[in-house]
Amino acid sequence: MADKPRILFCHCNYAQVVPEEVKAGVLQSLCESGQAFEAVADLCEMAARRDPALKRLAAGEAPVKIAACYPRAVKWLFGGCQAPLNTDRTEVVNMRELSAKDAARALLDEKVTPNLAADGLAAATEGEKKI
């Protein structure tokens, strides 16, 4: 049986780019789920400080689901800090585009659908899956 994915939630504190109701709705669903998860205030802020915690958040063999923004941005926030995400086992749930309900459903679904471009391959114009 595949490993249950770890969950990471980004609160995107320092800008209003993720709708407040989406962030709050997803966080509420996580709190009600009884599922273990990691929550960070702002992945951008951590990347700006090259926070060593990014390595911890990217590490491990289990697949990871990340509730944040665009997959390409998330991939390189980690990658730029020498904390690369495993592109075969990471799914980014884009809270800028999804409703709270859809984002929470994608996050809590145990099935992982990796959606980061493989290293060295630019995401195709229409090939990157928006989840």
Binding site: N13, V17, A41, A53, R56, W76
Partner: protein, 286 residues
């Protein structure tokens, strides 16, 4: 304060053996308050969480009889503190955590909006356009002459100009309002922006200053008589604003107003170009 390499205090919200369970609403309000203050929180529950590293852990829980466990990391590498939060509301909990943060030398948050370029190395061709373009020393190269963001806190908040000169749309600002600068998928149209690139280069690369010099020349006698630096500044602002609007770019007025003088900009531009040229030459010889 310069942004230093610092770690975030990791807080664990513990609800396991020896501690009471929080209801979902309490858990939510506590998390929201802690995240709002910039902390990273691990919510224990069913399933795995990220592995430990050597950074400090602060474990919060409603411990039975207010008795916090006496425990330590078996390897002695991770400083662990336990704190009882029984009777505290979310405000009280964040105050408690703030006190603990000060003793752990972990990062203090909220002093700077994290606005800086993020390079998509899947797209980047290491052409050094961004290094040549940026006047604020945000970019540099590593030992392998690969472009990197070196001084992200030099970046001008809300200014995405360098991303627009990138021929591969490889520079992202994740907090930008629209794609592909925000990290959204890059379209063919995004790559076909030669005109825009020239406009922006002109705006920030010197032509605007030539225009200002021409205007200044025409009105020199008036300015010299009036000796008004306020009027000169007003003229500069007016011109820059007009140019920015005409170019239909999204560079905040504050950024345009804070650009260096014409001589300084020429000097900085030459220095940035020299860095880029040296890096490109090193790439070729390597």
């Amino acid at each position: 304060m310069a942004i230093a390499d610092e770690t975030t205090l990791r807080i664990v919200l513990y609800e396991g053996a020896g501690a009471a369970t929080l209801d979902a609403a309490e858990r939510g309000s506590t998390l929201t308050a802690l995240l709002g203050k910039g902390y990273a929180v691990t919510c224990a529950g069913s399933g795995a969480v990220a592995p430990a590293d050597d950074s400090a852990l602060l474990v919060l829980g409603r411990f039975e009889n207010g008795q916090t466990p006496e425990a330590e990391d078996a390897n002695g590498a991770v400083p662990i503190q336990f704190r009882d939060i029984d009777g505290l509301d979310s405000e009280g909990i964040t105050a408690l955590v703030e006190e603990e943060r000060e003793s752990t030398q972990t990062a203090q948050h909220g002093e700077w909006k994290p606005w800086f370029p993020v390079i998509d190395y899947d797209r980047c061709t290491n052409c050094m356009q961004c290094l040549s373009f940026c006047l604020f020393d945000v970019y540099g190269v590593d030992d392998e002459q690969e472009i990197q963001v070196q001084n992200n806190d030099n970046c001008k908040t809300n200014c995405p100009a360098c991303s627009r000169v990138c021929p591969e749309a490889a520079i992202m600002f994740p907090k930008y309002k629209s794609g592909p600068i925000n990290g959204d998928v890059v379209s063919d149209g995004d790559l076909n922006r030669e005109k825009m690139k020239i406009d922006i280069s002109a705006l920030l690369g010197g032509d605007v200053y030539q225009m200002l010099r021409d205007r200044s020349q025409r009105s020199r006698s008036r300015f010299s008589k009036e000796r008004s630096s306020d009027k000169a500044l007003g003229e500069r602002t007016k011109c820059l604003t007009k140019l920015a609007a005409e170019a239909d770019i999204d560079i905040p007025l504050e950024v345009l107003q804070s650009l260096p003088s014409a001589d300084e900009i020429a000097e900085k531009s030459a220095a940035a170009n020299a860095k880029a040229t040296a890096a490109l030459a090193a790439q070729k010889s390597g």
